[in-house]
Subunit: 128 residues, 4 copies
């Protein structure tokens, strides 16, 4: 089970229909700042060039937001901190499609600390 001989793991296209950045927080930042993240794993031997497109309920898509996930690295990208081409508004429903030029795996996580105690959700994103 040596690393060099393993075939690539992952897929090129991922989707996350749920998206909502909570509008406020409780607790020490940045750990307990309300946030939503795309956790991306690139276990393969080439850098992954990733493009995220954001979809809304009442206007056209925005993007691509461009990221690089290095070979044999993970990136836990918070949607809150994406700024180019524009920040994602808080308290607004959105969704995302994530495309990569080399196979990756994507998991969606939200930490919601709007009330005094935090809540968590997570799921492996959709792929095909």
């Amino acid at each position: 089970m040596s690393q060099p001989s393993n075939p690539d793991i992952g897929k090129l296209v991922w989707a996350i229909p749920e998206g909502w950045i909570p509008g406020w927080s409780n607790g020490p930042e940045p750990e307990l700042l309300s946030h939503e993240a795309a956790c991306i794993l690139n276990p393969n031997d080439r850098d992954a060039h990733v493009e995220i497109t954001i979809y809304f309920e009442d206007r056209g898509p925005v993007g691509p937001y461009k990221l690089t996930v290095g070979a044999r690295r993970t990136l836990h990208q918070r949607f809150n901190t994406l700024t180019d081409p524009e920040p994602i508004p808080v308290s607004v429903a959105y969704a995302s499609v994530i495309r990569s030029d080399t196979p990756i795996i994507v998991q969606h996580t939200r930490l919601d600390s709007r009330q005094a105690e935090n809540a968590l959700l997570s799921t492996i994103a959709y792929t095909e």
Copy 2:
């Protein structure tokens, strides 16, 4: 990776076995109203005409509930606000099947604020 040349993403049939609209809430509404949602993403170039059927433990299915998700749009549909053909009762176990005439992706989310602090669950729905 330009949008026009991408093939469709998604599937036509989805299922969510878990369904339960919490019977009460704490916190400012509508954001912290207890609710359950089907987050639907239609990243493709045609409108999606969606039909939801609701299944119960002790009576026959109800539906279809009809929705349209525009091309390149998302819709975070709360089960709480479906009314036609009839509202879904709270504090009752149900399940759902979601069918579309064009590919979509579906994620299931619940915000439960019955106690003083909220709780969250989410998962990509089942598809085949």
Copy 3:
């Protein structure tokens, strides 16, 4: 999209590696009793005869626990209330395999109310 002409939805074999019935609860019962459930949907036209086998860390499997999920019905089966062949102990790690003679869909949910506020987790179970 009329119901009679639809092909079956679902799979015959499902697995849930995570299992843990919290040992205590807070809040009004039965709604806020800590529990773990297999939410089973049978959207098809024949009753589903279901067998659950429970796996442990330090002893052999127990089961089958037998259930019937009617045609076009859902069953949100709490693991807490299974008794035949034996109850599942609380505060013990377990896992489950769920087999059916007709296609079903399975989602795993836990409500944990051990502390003053409840927590939730959910995921579509594994199938192949």
Copy 4:
């Protein structure tokens, strides 16, 4: 549906892009100690020899961490308690790839008790 004649269930390669061991806890230990676990089910008739590799954002992978999951057993392995070749640091983003020599099923769960009340997340891991 007798056990001996059933074919194997599961897959050989799994991935969990999300990883984060909360840095502190509230509540009685060990049950309410903040932790993150890979729940592994081996419902088959041979022991599973499992290797976990951990990926980080800013350095190369660490591992393999070696485990054995007995035939017809589950193992709820907390990432917190892995020590060989080295402990996984708390409050650091990581990801994991899990390989086995015989089919298994993997589910990812986190209990976060950093605030006074606990939060939970869970998802079936990615496989292919």
